[in-house]
């Protein structure tokens, strides 16, 4: 979606306008006016992104409970972190969540996108699949919390009616899978529409060529659609994996991390550490580790998927 937009955009080149500006002006270009345009955003960026990032890195090296000034303790938080089984548990639970969520979401969205592309241009259909994305995580979580309730939930009514035992969806065994499915439900339509947008960018001529060659729908999908979709998919995947690691709302309003620690995802653990146990320094250290981890994952994903390259040119 994005990389191709850039590619397609006619960039202003030196050749389009004869550049008669004096050398000094050419070096500075539009700098003065650019500063005016960028300034408000740059202030917001400096105060609410850069400064807190620096401060966060520093706080991770301190013992800090918000009420008294932070006390520098070096790498003590990080040392403690490696022996903290709750931290490792939170990572494990989060990883389970991400795998389940991204796995189901990607497959369902891809199928949905291809179906939308091949079957209909109906705005109503697209609107319906997008609907869950428009309501808050909290709303979605509560509705499913109610529908999956052990005693009164409609899903368990149906399960019992079919002759099976009631399922403890928010119990220790299934809790994290349930939360993953709830968020898959919320995001599948949105992700499908992103992929759908990518599908629309594939020139119809490519499909016509495939049809002339007598390729089946199935073969066309694997040999034409999927490779051409790769840049879009790479972007979608990177963004959804990063988003997925940050699951919090759904956990916070349903299980609250329980039972015991079965759904205590990393974000919730950090929140708990900072705002219930007032251990801000340690929470900052946890966020730093999460940051490094996510950066590593994003980098790997981009490398593996060669996201910056498009196959469209060669097609």
């Amino acid at each position: 979606m994005t990389s191709d937009t850039v590619r397609a955009a006619p960039r202003p080149t030196a050749g389009t306008v004869p550049d008669k500006a004096p050398p000094r002006r050419r070096r500075l270009g539009d700098l003065p006016i650019a500063i005016v345009f960028v300034l408000p955003a740059a202030i917001g960026f400096a105060v609410f992104y850069v400064w807190p990032a620096i401060r966060g890195a520093y706080l991770s090296l301190t013992k800090y409970n918000v009420l008294t000034p932070p006390r520098f303790i070096g790498l003590e938080n990080y040392r403690q972190l490696f022996g903290d089984h709750l931290f490792w548990n939170a990572l494990k639970v989060t990883a389970e969540y991400v795998v389940l969520n991204i796995g189901t979401q990607t497959v369902i969205s891809m199928v949905l996108a291809v179906l939308l592309h091949r079957l209909t241009r109906s705005m109503v259909v697209r609107g319906i699949v997008l609907l869950p994305y428009l309501v808050a995580n909290v709303v979605v979580a509560l509705v499913w919390f109610w529908m999956l309730d052990f005693q009164l939930g409609v899903v368990n009514q149906v399960i019992e009616w079919l002759g099976f035992d009631r399922v403890a969806f928010f119990g220790a065994d299934l809790g994290i899978a349930t939360i993953a499915m709830i968020n898959t439900w919320r995001h599948m339509g949105y992700t499908a529409l992103l992929i759908f947008a990518g599908l629309l960018m594939i020139p119809p001529s490519v499909y016509e060529a495939a049809a002339i060659d007598g390729a089946s729908e199935w073969r066309t999908f694997w040999r034409v659609t999927l490779p051409l979709l790769r840049p879009v998919m790479a972007l979608v995947m990177v963004l959804s994996v990063i988003g997925s690691f940050q699951v919090f709302d759904t956990v916070a309003v349903t299980t609250g991390g329980g039972p015991i620690n079965a759904t205590r995802v990393i974000y919730f653990y950090i929140y708990d550490m900072a705002f219930n146990r007032f251990n801000f320094g340690y929470a900052a250290a946890l966020s730093s580790v999460l940051f490094v981890l996510l950066a590593g994952i994003a980098y790997l994903q981009l490398r593996l998927s060669r996201a910056g390259e498009s196959d469209l040119k060669g097609a």
């Binding site: 006016i33 650019a34 960028v38 955003a41 319906i128 309501v135």
Partner: protein
């Protein structure tokens, strides 16, 4: 030919299944919100509201007395979702207006102006997309606290008012796609950059800008984590935070399900109405392919 037809039938079957799975929870929210909490146990599988009543709405909108609320399985704590609705509107509207405007200015500078360091600064902006919000959220909480802005609108709004890396990135993509000749024509007419931006670039980008505005509004409306940290007080409490608190009040052992569903529907409704009004634009926007 026949096989293709069957393929289409199967495809439609899957599509319909997805749509039903998507819509059913919304129906169930509606159905439960018109039920009486006390009767839900007896009619847990009924497709229609159990003991139809508007009691749940009266409870969450602060219209029923405590005695009434308790009698219907509600909580003794008072809630007023009208107030939370107002707070959500104030927060989401301010954030959207500020963020979209200031981000579009920055995006213009990154896309259409030529200045030394442009790529470097833009790269730094975009790198922030990769930073998990929690890394900056904790220190931002400390900052807002130090500024004495806890439990104020300003405290909730400020961090997202001037920019988000996404907004800048998003608009830059579209500004890049605008044909340079349009700008050159304006330049030949003697228009400066400010004039070009307000008179040509912004009007030309109405589509992507309203798209972004819608996305920002939705994100802000649905945000839970940040307002939970800085805006728990009733006078600035937004809908999502209010829902979380309402959910944790468990009257008489079991949640007030009808009240909870009435509240969730009330919180979701503005987004659904917005979608109904702007639906086409929202959907198109997600598939927006930029200027040809």
């Amino acid at each position: 030919m026949a096989s293709i037809r069957w393929g289409r039938v199967a495809g439609w079957a899957v599509l319909v299944l997805v749509m039903v799975a998507t819509l059913f929870p919304f129906y169930w929210m509606l159905r439960t919100s018109f039920s009486s909490t006390r009767s839900l146990a007896a009619g847990a599988g009924d497709l229609l509201p159990v003991d139809f009543t508007l009691g749940a709405y009266r409870r969450v909108l602060g219209l029923s007395s405590t005695a009434e609320a308790v009698a219907e399985g509600g909580s003794t704590g008072t809630v007023d979702f009208w107030l939370y609705l107002r707070n959500s509107i104030v927060v989401a509207t301010t954030v959207t207006a500020g963020q979209v405007f200031f981000s579009s200015m920055a995006a213009y500078a990154f896309a259409r102006l030529r200045w030394p360091g442009r790529e470097a600064v833009f790269t730094i902006f975009v790198t922030a997309l990769m930073v998990p919000p929690i890394f900056t959220t904790l220190p931002n909480f400390v900052l807002i606290k130090d500024l004495g802005l806890l439990n104020t609108y300003l405290g909730i709004i400020l961090p997202h008012l001037l920019m988000t890396p996404f907004a800048v990135f998003f608009l830059r993509q579209f500004f890049l796609g605008i044909n340079a000749s349009v700008e050159e024509a304006a330049r030949l007419d003697g228009a400066g950059h400010v004039r070009t931006f307000f008179r040509i670039i912004l009007p030309m980008s109405k589509g992507p800008i309203s798209t972004l505005a819608i996305l920002v509004y939705i994100t802000s409306w649905n945000d839970y984590f940040w307002p939970l940290l800085v805006g728990k007080a009733e006078n600035v409490r937004v809908l999502t935070v209010a829902l979380g608190i309402f959910r944790s009040q468990t009257p008489q052992g079991s949640p007030d399900w009808a009240g909870l569903m009435a509240a969730t529907l009330f919180a979701a409704l503005p987004m659904i109405v917005l979608f109904a009004l702007l639906g086409r634009r929202v959907i198109d926007s997600i598939g927006y392919t930029g200027v040809k």
